[in-house]
């Protein structure tokens, strides 16, 4: 993983995909009855359909980063090692950042389609609770002085929290009514919901955002590691 994070190729590809998705996502017109490259023109969504290339991939990257954090926490409990702890907390922090970005883009989208910035939707509640859970994780980390102890407690809390969080955001919305696609009888990313042109840009955008989030977290983790080393050196 360390070697993978230092390599360049996936960063270049990721940024390329992201540039492609953003530029074309803002540039391609909606369907106006003329043949050619166009996004579907749906009644309520209108131009806001372009947000699909921002909002949804941000959530994907958040879940991906939290999953990585979870895996590093398990690894830390197996064999405690400072670097694994650094990875776990770094991924969780950048995951929270992407969650916040996902909430903001989602709020803009909700205002234009559902008419309000915030609605009582299971997925929105899940998002808010997820943020709270990971803030609690960071508070737990800051409340313990001893490094070994902090790593162990934080890792076990992270594993505990991630399982409950995943059960909450992936299981409950599917069983109750939701305004989001794919829930409570609404169609998911199926052929008539997400059309082929949009899909052509949606998948690159997802990969691009995930790559960007990985890049940001790799820089953040390295920065934290160097700060720690410097502080120890000063002491």
């Amino acid at each position: 993983m360390e070697r993978f994070l230092k390599q360049f190729w996936w960063k270049i590809i990721g940024i390329g995909l992201l540039m492609f998705a953003i530029v074309s996502g803002l540039w391609i017109p909606l369907y106006q009855g003329v043949e050619g490259l166009s996004f579907p023109n749906l009644p309520i969504l209108n131009e806001s359909i372009r947000n699909l290339l921002f909002h949804v991939p941000m959530w994907f990257s958040m879940v991906f980063l939290l999953l990585l954090s979870f895996i590093y926490s398990i690894a830390y409990l197996g064999t405690p090692d400072r670097m694994k702890d650094n990875y776990a907390v770094g991924f969780a922090q950048v995951g929270v950042l992407f969650g916040a970005l996902g909430i903001f883009t989602g709020m803009v989208w909700a205002k234009s389609t559902w008419g309000a910035f915030w609605t009582n939707d299971p997925k929105l509640n899940g998002a808010a609770i997820g943020m709270l859970i990971y803030f609690a994780y960071l508070i737990l980390r800051s409340s313990v002085e001893d490094e070994m102890k902090r790593g162990k407690l934080a890792a076990s809390y992270n594993i505990f929290a991630f399982n409950i969080y995943i059960a909450f955001i992936f299981v409950i919305p599917r069983l109750t009514d939701s305004l989001h696609p794919g829930n409570g009888g609404n169609p998911a990313f199926s052929s008539y919901d997400l059309d082929n042109t949009l899909r052509l840009f949606f998948y690159p955008a997802s990969l691009g955002w995930i790559a960007l989030s990985m890049w940001i977290s790799s820089i953040w983790i390295r920065y934290n590691f160097l700060t720690q080393e410097y502080e120890e050196y000063e002491d």
Binding site: N125, L140, Y157, I159, A167, I172
Partner: protein, 233 residues
């Protein structure tokens, strides 16, 4: 095969013994239980007074009843589970450490805390019914959702309290760590609880019941798996 069965029997026997010991200790230290009862009584009285002086106690909405009820049950459960760890001294921990395996310890703690918080929440419910009236039309549903919810909280908060007490924090740290995790279960339990105010059950009842049971099961399993890693200092 026989060996595994014997192992399981031994584990169960140890857990039962430990539960018995813990219960005896819990009821010998009367101030702990009495303190929690005092907490419940005084908060219920606070609710009673505030409703009385607002003049809304007579036509109290069931929703308000359930909001106050679950808030009080949540805080009582947090206090009950947290003190079961915080009152363990370092020496006692060392004694347990030499006597039993971590799984036995946490399993016994989970069972004892579930029992204690179940008793406390039933008492809370009783006091609520006496003082604020009984808004439920299906009493069995109320009892069922109350016991499942309380069990879920106590299982969750037992592990969270173990983390909080290990980190040297106080009960407020347990609250900070536990409440976000308790919200998913709370959102389901409030729905289940609300069903008891209606004359008949909705179609979603079974679904929600299974989800609530699932949220009981996840903390139980994770606590048994994760506790051995944090119990040594």
């Amino acid at each position: 095969m026989q060996n595994r069965y014997l192992c399981f029997m031994k584990f169960g026997w140890q857990v039962l013994n430990f539960v018995w010991l813990e219960l005896k200790l819990e009821f010998r230290l009367k101030y702990a239980i009495a303190g929690l009862l005092m907490f419940v009584l005084s908060t219920v009285y606070l609710v009673y007074f505030s409703l009385e002086y607002q003049g809304v106690r007579g036509d109290l909405l069931p929703t308000i009843w359930s909001i106050f009820f679950w808030l009080i049950v949540l805080f009582t459960t947090v206090n009950a589970t947290f003190q079961s760890f915080s009152k363990l001294s370092q020496g006692k921990m060392l004694l347990y450490y030499t006597l039993v395996s971590p799984q036995v310890f946490i399993a016994a703690k989970l069972i004892v805390n579930a029992l204690v918080s179940l008793i406390l929440s039933l008492l809370t419910g009783l006091i609520f019914i006496f003082i604020l009236g009984n808004p439920s039309q299906q009493f069995a549903v109320l009892l069922l959702s109350l016991s499942i919810g309380t069990m879920g909280y106590s299982l969750l908060f037992t592990y969270i309290s173990a983390i909080a007490s290990k980190s040297g924090g106080n009960a407020s740290l347990a609250v900070v760590l536990g409440f976000p995790l308790a919200l998913p279960l709370l959102s389901i339990i409030v729905k289940l609880f609300g069903e008891s105010f209606n004359p008949s059950l909705s179609l979603n009842f079974d679904n929600n019941l299974w989800i609530a049971l699932g949220f009981n099961f996840i903390p139980l399993l994770l606590a048994l798996i994760l506790f051995p890693y944090i119990w040594r200092d």
